[in-house]
Symmetry: D3
Subunit: 240 residues, 6 copies
Amino acid sequence: MTTGKTGLVVTAHPGDFVWRAGGAIALHAKKGYRMKIVCLSFGERGESQWAWKKGDVSLSEVKAQRREEAERAAETLGAEIEFFDAGDYPLYTTPEMLDRLIDIYRELKPSFVLTHSLEDPYNVDHPEATRFAQEARIIAQAAGHKPNPDLTYNAPPVFLFEPHQPEQCNYKPNLILNIDDVWETKRKAFEILAAQKHLWEYYTRVALNRGMQGGRNSGRAMTYGEAYQRIFPQIVEELA
Amino acid sequence: MTTGKTGLVVTAHPGDFVWRAGGAIALHAKKGYRMKIVCLSFGERGESQWAWKKGDVSLSEVKAQRREEAERAAETLGAEIEFFDAGDYPLYTTPEMLDRLIDIYRELKPSFVLTHSLEDPYNVDHPEATRFAQEARIIAQAAGHKPNPDLTYNAPPVFLFEPHQPEQCNYKPNLILNIDDVWETKRKAFEILAAQKHLWEYYTRVALNRGMQGGRNSGRAMTYGEAYQRIFPQIVEELA
Amino acid sequence: MTTGKTGLVVTAHPGDFVWRAGGAIALHAKKGYRMKIVCLSFGERGESQWAWKKGDVSLSEVKAQRREEAERAAETLGAEIEFFDAGDYPLYTTPEMLDRLIDIYRELKPSFVLTHSLEDPYNVDHPEATRFAQEARIIAQAAGHKPNPDLTYNAPPVFLFEPHQPEQCNYKPNLILNIDDVWETKRKAFEILAAQKHLWEYYTRVALNRGMQGGRNSGRAMTYGEAYQRIFPQIVEELA
Amino acid sequence: MTTGKTGLVVTAHPGDFVWRAGGAIALHAKKGYRMKIVCLSFGERGESQWAWKKGDVSLSEVKAQRREEAERAAETLGAEIEFFDAGDYPLYTTPEMLDRLIDIYRELKPSFVLTHSLEDPYNVDHPEATRFAQEARIIAQAAGHKPNPDLTYNAPPVFLFEPHQPEQCNYKPNLILNIDDVWETKRKAFEILAAQKHLWEYYTRVALNRGMQGGRNSGRAMTYGEAYQRIFPQIVEELA
Amino acid sequence: MTTGKTGLVVTAHPGDFVWRAGGAIALHAKKGYRMKIVCLSFGERGESQWAWKKGDVSLSEVKAQRREEAERAAETLGAEIEFFDAGDYPLYTTPEMLDRLIDIYRELKPSFVLTHSLEDPYNVDHPEATRFAQEARIIAQAAGHKPNPDLTYNAPPVFLFEPHQPEQCNYKPNLILNIDDVWETKRKAFEILAAQKHLWEYYTRVALNRGMQGGRNSGRAMTYGEAYQRIFPQIVEELA
Amino acid sequence: MTTGKTGLVVTAHPGDFVWRAGGAIALHAKKGYRMKIVCLSFGERGESQWAWKKGDVSLSEVKAQRREEAERAAETLGAEIEFFDAGDYPLYTTPEMLDRLIDIYRELKPSFVLTHSLEDPYNVDHPEATRFAQEARIIAQAAGHKPNPDLTYNAPPVFLFEPHQPEQCNYKPNLILNIDDVWETKRKAFEILAAQKHLWEYYTRVALNRGMQGGRNSGRAMTYGEAYQRIFPQIVEELA
């Protein structure tokens, strides 16, 4: 089943799309969306402590390990993944990467984009990924960028997924996605990130607590939730 | 056509439901919702300048005039209206009024509530109406308030309609409702408020500009919009 | 010299108009404005420690002492003063007081109103005074309040004077008034508040530092300043 | 072991001191603080669904049940408890209650006060409890309130405990308390609230996630945390 | 008539100075100010859809078209214009451009600077222009930048003009300029931007609604207004 | 006496560590901390007006003068100082500087870091210094940055010192450090900055007013204070 619809995810590191957006990815993939993850780095320097602690390992080995892991996680969730190899801690984007991401927006014409919070005092790569995702989303609208009179493209809504410490990032969720139908898949993707076992439970608890909040806000039963912050107004034909 | 669904509107004065929420009221009425307006005052002291400027008029005459006008406007929009006669400038709510509004919430089980912005430095009655609408919405959930084991009630989402000077009220719309289908009806309700002719054009311009913003945010054609600020997280089964 | 113009000051306690707005009062009095202070309490319970520490003193004695002091300070600054005797810690306003303040607004038609900050976590009376000053300012516009077809009244701009710990009150000054011409007068008024000698120096330092900030922001020499936060948009015919 | 120190907790309902502040209460009790809880209501109408759902129960029966439960929970945590019986949904405080709370502040001279967040759009009683706790804290400083020349009292620091949905309450924790030493006690207190079993797990997850955040922020091992928001500047003799 | 005074406008694209600041430019030009616009790009890629939609057009052709249009609009408003050709979507400023803008500040010694809002989630070029205008304004003060002992320069006040969707940009106007005297001129400049006819009406409505807000805030009649956000404190010798 | 503890200070210009953090530096040096200042520029262009006003002076002469002054001030305060020579107005950091600062974090393992406010509309170098200090603090944690399995490093708490106009920088202090014990030393460091005599008194007044605020917030006597804004949650074993 495909819907012809697509969703785009732009993350700084592999863990991010698993912990923070794994439910949305799996859910929309299941609904027939083509889901594509742009993963800007392999998290090779800042999120691979276990590899470096062993010592005697090269940067390219760590990158290869993490790429393999990220590819398996993406596959588990039902998504394509493309790496930009922008480095991490710090992540540096180039004009070529910007150009490539603009092309992806125009090709995918996504129904939505998922990315990081606007601020994160614990992590310099996260807001940089958000800034980059927004810049490409906007430039993709510019008729004079690689002009093509036949192009139709509308900048899609942006949803920010939940950072590790939401309040410290001035992150305020205004949407909770029910991910009950794909929870097992999300959890399976957690378990691919074998070295971060302590985070499996952390983000399981986050999902359960967002689920309970979702239930209280809607009056409808739900167990697992994923929080998002929509940053552009929603346009509707009916309230509620 | 009825949907069995209902919507509740709590406003301080009659003009408010016309200028600010007239589109949502007419639209949902047209869709088959039972729409009910709780109008806390008649706007008799603060929004009836033309009547007082004539001189030699009593408070009850002004109230009667404005009630009649408000009833016609509500009827035009397709809504029921109930007045609480709480006075205006300032508006004082009583425990009895609170009790009545709680009953209304429980009886209507509305799919949504529309009310004023959280702040308004130009108007003391508006945030008081909001506070009152929220208080009743919450207490309606308390099992020990007029206990009834059969009661089912979920606190509905709240949407704040647009104040006269949004930025001064720290009002940030996050939803634009397309009201093209009912614009003529909303405009007709404007014209019942015969003494505020200058506001007819003002709020027509507001609707057109919100409409253009709606079009730009969605990529879908629309002409007239009404802005709302949702204040509780939205719970969804699918993004976009 | 009179200008026919007036200025209104609404404060919770006597010290407030001296420390926070004494410069503006003296300056505008000197320029020929009729300046009127509405002092809601005598600061009898919460700002008269020295009196109570002596023991064996009655509430009415403390009130009389502080009234006398406040009257001398007002006179020094060139202002009228009216006490509402609303009590302090906590300050309770009544409908009669509200009615009286509305009358004052309508009679004075002030060019500006000075009052407290919107928030003050150290003091419950201050934001209550602000709320009360704003409520009366708004109701004075209501044509149906004591209707009088001949009344002309425009709600004046409101300037919030500086609280004791500005940042803790989320107070952000956007205007600095040069009070060099009346500094000696303001200081003289300080010295009437004999029991709060430690605050003489504190608020002299505040005036000097606001003065230096004023100089840096304007490029014009000034020594003493008073900070204000304007809360409604300024309407102008020319920028700068 | 007693330290001569005390801590004061002001909550709207019994559940609040258990879920939100149970760790701080138990921890400081264990350290020898006299801990006192002022519980403004019994949560009889809004937080006793299970009782009302049975039907055929009176308000006083529900209050008695909940009082008994709250007393056991307080005892488990090592604290005294005093009920103000201010009602719930809505909670109404009286001048007599204010007077009583001021006396408690002056008698206890607490080293800290724990209370609710400043805002809570889901609950009208919570911010009312906070407002009331702050008002009494401030008035207790007023020398003219029940004057007593021998009184020494300094307004204590205030720490806001965590609401149910922190981000929706604009709550930003700036302190995490390590409650590992008393976790078992806090959990035992949870289990006294037999009818709210679903919240046992919810708040266990909150404690674990705050614990992990505490560990990441400090670099020191900890498992269970309780989040607080300090609202007055901390005065220190050394950083870090 | 010249006053010897000048005003500086820094915009990202040509449309910006017309829609957003055209009134202020024309008004101050009429008052005898030398008005200078620094237009960082020609809006060639992002704001020239109609040109690109025709196809078969080169970037330099589009730039030439838009330059011509912008020059005519500036002339209509009574201003000089200088282009920096920094590109658009995205706009990249260079050290040479910074150097040039610093020289302009020092030469003009403007009484005020007009530029974009601090944030704009719809447009990456706008906040970049603001950042750049602010950076040059500050560096122009540095005595060691192209040192010249005779230089006198005071950093001027900055006024942010209104973005397309003010609330989404966290833009809060605190000043409304009455542009009645130059409305016809501003409208004439609109009509030079022939391809953006839909915006003529949009920004006419914005001007009318800001005008009505200006009238309500001041009690003085006015029809057309332009909103600004002042970002440094105003230094005054008299209130109101 | 040494404690084995260290503190790190990252400032844009020499004056900054003296006016804003001189108390903390001297106090912790006195307590036996190794205190290290990283001073990114010499303030040669933007904060050396007196030198440039004389004319006929070279950039390297100004830098040498200011280096000498800064070294004496650091020595007076009891700190080491390292200059990055990143230029000022504007300050540009390089990857090499980032690398060096990361090394310093890892070598020092500081108990705290002091740096500028997050925003400063008057100064582009200040927030850039803050951003740079934060980036290095975070990358120092990345195991893959110069991997070393033996490295132990925890990112230290960050305290923002007070900018010149706190409210304009959206700076909200949440900590006041008592600097009575080292006031004379801090003042002596002021006097090394001979050309900025007007700031000696300004910052003496700031210290006295922060001191009085510290006394009021704590109930403990203190005369001189330095304000800080902590930006990560504090992790504690006891409240108050």
